[in-house]
Symmetry: D2
Subunit: 362 residues, 4 copies
């Protein structure tokens, strides 16, 4: 039987039994989201990896493609046709957009719960989804029942969800930074600006000229200024909170680092308020949102490898513009870590199970 083989054999907690474990499958495990899921799940005391699929690399040991997993994962990639995903308790989709929507219905019908790390179930507006993603959606009805997996706004629904749409990386960093301000109604909702910077892993593990080392190192650029797929997702999330459509300008940039997103958010204040207290109170109970002391400038490396969003709020020169700095690791809180957090919530586990590792700094 396929299972984890923890190096040295001493599982962190011997009380957990195999037969009480969550049987997990991963569809599409050759990208950065997939390997990151594996890194986190390896340390999860109550999940056992049953299968990880790849059409192109079926038969190749996972640890051959990702030597960092030698000694931790001894599974090969399995062809989708032989994966028997219906025997899992939970399936993660770490696939390109358009795959999960093809396979989710059968899994749900078989009683499997699904966390989709792609964008297939994120937008409730199907027409908008089809426009931005350039495909016809094959299961709009499932979208309607999907829960947007941002625990800081949707924890209760996630608990009972059968299908979770795991948020995008930019949307996670941007929404967590704007929520307190919009919920409190202290900024104009029609002129929001999100100037966001992403590390190159955000582009995925795809052979493309633009993200070669020799193209993207030692340089900086914006991209997609005319429109980026994460724009409607962010707008949807902010509108839900605000109660009305919001006006948002979203400019993503590529920065020469591997991991990390830094969102710099701008809003126009409409009333006096203690911004520091507002943020601290909003996230007081949240295990994975860290409101830093007043005057702080969070660095992306301070969350490298960790399921954490660090936020600082500023009001320069006491003017009417509020500036929020929000950082995450795009592969963790922006993808695989949030997916595990959602799994923990869905299965009634402590929310930080397997998510307590300290960021890697330097």
């Amino acid at each position: 039987m396929a299972s984890f083989n923890i190096m040295g054999g001493n599982l962190p907690c011997p009380l957990v039994k195999e037969n009480t474990m969550i049987k997990v499958g991963i569809v599409g495990g050759t990208g950065y989201t997939g390997v990151e899921l594996l890194r986190l799940l390896v340390a999860h005391p109550q999940a056992t990896l049953r299968v990880i699929t790849s059409r192109a690399d079926a038969g190749t040991p996972v640890s051959q493609m990702f030597p960092s997993l030698r000694g931790y994962v001894d599974l090969p990639f399995t062809h989708p046709d032989e994966a028997h995903l219906e025997q899992c308790d939970l399936v993660f989709f770490a696939t390109p957009n358009g795959i999960a929507m093809q396979q989710t219905r059968a899994l749900l019908d078989a009683g499997v719960r699904v966390v989709d790390l792609s964008a297939d179930f994120r937008l409730q507006d199907i027409a908008a989804w089809e426009k931005w993603y350039g495909m016809t959606h094959v299961c709009p009805d499932l979208v309607a029942g999907a829960v947007y997996g941002l625990p800081e706004i949707n924890r209760a629904q996630i608990k009972s969800a059968r299908l979770v749409a795991n948020p995008g990386c930019y949307p996670t960093a941007v929404q967590l930074g704007f929520f307190p301000l919009l919920e409190a109604g202290v900024i104009e909702p029609d002129s929001l600006i999100a100037d966001a910077k992403s590390g190159v892993s955000g582009a995925g593990r795809k052979a493309e000229i633009a993200v070669l080392f020799a193209e993207s190192s030692d340089s900086f650029k914006a991209y997609g200024v005319s429109g980026h797929r994460h724009l409607p997702e962010i707008r949807q999330g902010l509108a839900r909170v605000d109660g009305n459509p919001v006006g948002l300008t979203f400019v993503p940039h590529l920065t020469p680092m591997i991991r990390g997103i830094h969102a710099t958010l701008y809003g126009r204040l409409t009333s006096e308020t203690d911004l520091q207290a507002l943020f601290e109170q909003r996230y007081a109970g949240e295990p994975f949102v860290d409101v830093m002391p007043a005057g702080s400038h969070p660095e992306t490396r301070s969350v490298r490898g960790a399921n954490c969003c660090r936020i600082a709020v500023h009001r320069p020169q006491d003017g009417d513009t509020v500036v929020v700095l929000s950082v995450i690791d795009n592969l963790v809180k922006g993808a695989a870590g949030q997916a595990v957090q959602n799994m923990n919530i869905m299965f009634g586990l402590p929310e930080n199970t397997a998510l307590n590792n300290v960021p890697l700094l330097p």
Copy 2:
């Protein structure tokens, strides 16, 4: 006599005679601005470097500190007391703030023209300067007569200037991006946002923990959100153009690359206009501002090593927010290149003399 020793000896244009050359001195040549000035001046057919000073490194050959200059510069650093700067035609100050203001009067009195790459003569408001730079200014009268050395707005005054205040790196990128919009009066001047990202060389060649490789590589952060010294300089320049004080939020960031500034600028449009045409017309005659085709995203590497500002203008989703992307090499158009451009203007030379090198890409 100390002079350049061009490797191989073939000066590009043999018609230029030594006795018609501009005798140049550099004060404070051990920083990045200094070595960059040397790189550019080495190729200048009508300038000859007479002296380069350093108090701490007097006697050390310049090319020992900067091996890239081996074969090009055979001068040692000279102690300031023995520099005889008064024999130069032009002196560049590539010093920390507060040095140039101590020495400029004597040079001007001796008939030497001065280009100060530090901030000593940039702010006309002496009180503001003293607040932001934490020093008492010793020659406010000289500030009043100094010309702000941004050729794209001040070319005529630079021509006859005896003292030029070379602009800061952020101010160059930000002002060039906002000028067309403010001059045309098509944006609200009270809610400008400049989200700027700088390579690490912008921090200078100083031994500080925060800019160590192991601290600033593979990470991204904002800094100085509460206030940065370039803020009043930018505001002064924009107000001059607009005719009124402007409201500006300026957020600088540190990005893991050596050279380059990317300014992402946001303004709220107040009237319909052809933005692309506006920018193209404004900079039609400028040799060092390149307005890129509509839809472009300039990369900082596209100006690496070159005295060029590339600009693209966007209006996302045809909304009321204009987004300007402006990139420069902070050490060239943001410092040493602009200083040479100013020198060329001051001495009646073709403005692009020694500034025609192609950017280094990749």
Copy 3:
């Protein structure tokens, strides 16, 4: 009482009681070795951090200097005079060279065990130590009793050691690569070559020009070719195995990455042998040495953040030169991880306790 405050509070294994825990102190915690020790110890179920000292930063919360530790370490740095290190079970020295030798005798006398991550106790030849480190050694007698903390060669002695000299980063990577060949007597011991490449964190968290981002990024260089402090340490270790002095040329290089050492080792073969089998057998039982399949090229990122040395052995064109590729994370297996491994051995714990995390890739 000072102690860890694990975010969320769910310790991985509730059976471990506070009163059975190892009380740990760290001297000099403001460098990279210090913060890395903290990252690892935070997750250690049987160690509790009692104190971490810093003369310069006494009173500053550790997590203020290293925000990655927010929520995990709530101690401030303590002044050495108030540290009461004698109440610890184990003290780690993460100090510059020359500090540990001043303080170790008192700690040993108080019954505290010591792991020194600096070089004070690594060289048995005191004269050699004094020459390479430029100091007079104050306790040669303690050196004589110190155990060199490379478990793969010294595990039994470490078990009962009161004072462990934790190996240097280069020496760890180089020795582990040469051991199998020298033990088997299949290479000439008088013409070994170690061409080693280190990430910049190996230079420590010190404000020095040479390791600024703008100096060391996008460049590569050798250094210390005439002699490096790790040379005598490597020679001592190899000679111990070989039984005779060895001839070694050691050339370290600086490569633009944060963490990682890649040692490329060359030896002249003196007899036919199955090199792959030799290495696999030598390290068959070792939890932290991974002999990769024949033909492999280990990447430093494959051990990023992990206490692992990955090795591949090659014999190009079946000639008489063997090439060994050996990679470690200089801060983990090359410093803090190895120190925790030594602690685990000294206290009879499973050797991989708190050292089972998967490398961070990408």
Copy 4:
């Protein structure tokens, strides 16, 4: 007529007439070698670019693909079938291996001289070439007449060559480092070691996973240890100098920087000699080889963008191993710069024409 359009129009030397210029064509201009050739040729006062071909990108303006060339090159890429290369005086091949050998005969027959930057004409041993490059060679007779374009060993033959095989990047750095030692007969020729490190641009501008930013940044690895195509080329060059076959172990590595090669060379000394003097004398007249002072450690950035090889020679601990450090910019002295140097020699121009730019540092 297609031609350069130098920004601003002031050619550095107005005496050069169009009709005396070398008409240059480039085949395959979309890679890094191509864009680097353009950067250098733009500044060449006696060469005019007539055509640059690309099958895939025919019609696209060159400056659209490489915005760094905006204002310098206004040609589009031309389809090979419409290129009329036979009207050129010189054609550079900046193509993948196997293309130049298809087209060279026709060009030579038309009286066009050829500099091939690919490997098609580098190896005199056709069988070896076919083995390493996996193709049948279509014109072995032309190989026999081709001149290996390393001016420091072959200047006289290059002068009259009709077909120049431009050396590989590793072979340039390695051969220049070994030549003085082999020529003087002071090292054992049968146990040479070349441990070489290359920046990522050496892999070319090809969409491949292994050279993505997120794969190759912040990591270091060897590759091709069992055999690399540059090995036979280096051996051929060294054997020619030594008079006998040499024994060489060549290990290339990938280092996270864009440009640069650092070769660390090891040889066993067989006689006493003044190594520093040996190297200085060997390269005394060479414009592009810089022997650094004793004790130096050349950095790759010290030659960034320049046609220069800097070398330092060491004899650690006065032992019997000599260590040579040799650095080049792989795209300049390792490719395009050397090609222009060869062109200058072939056409009787000063050898440093258009190659006098100062390296870009920092």
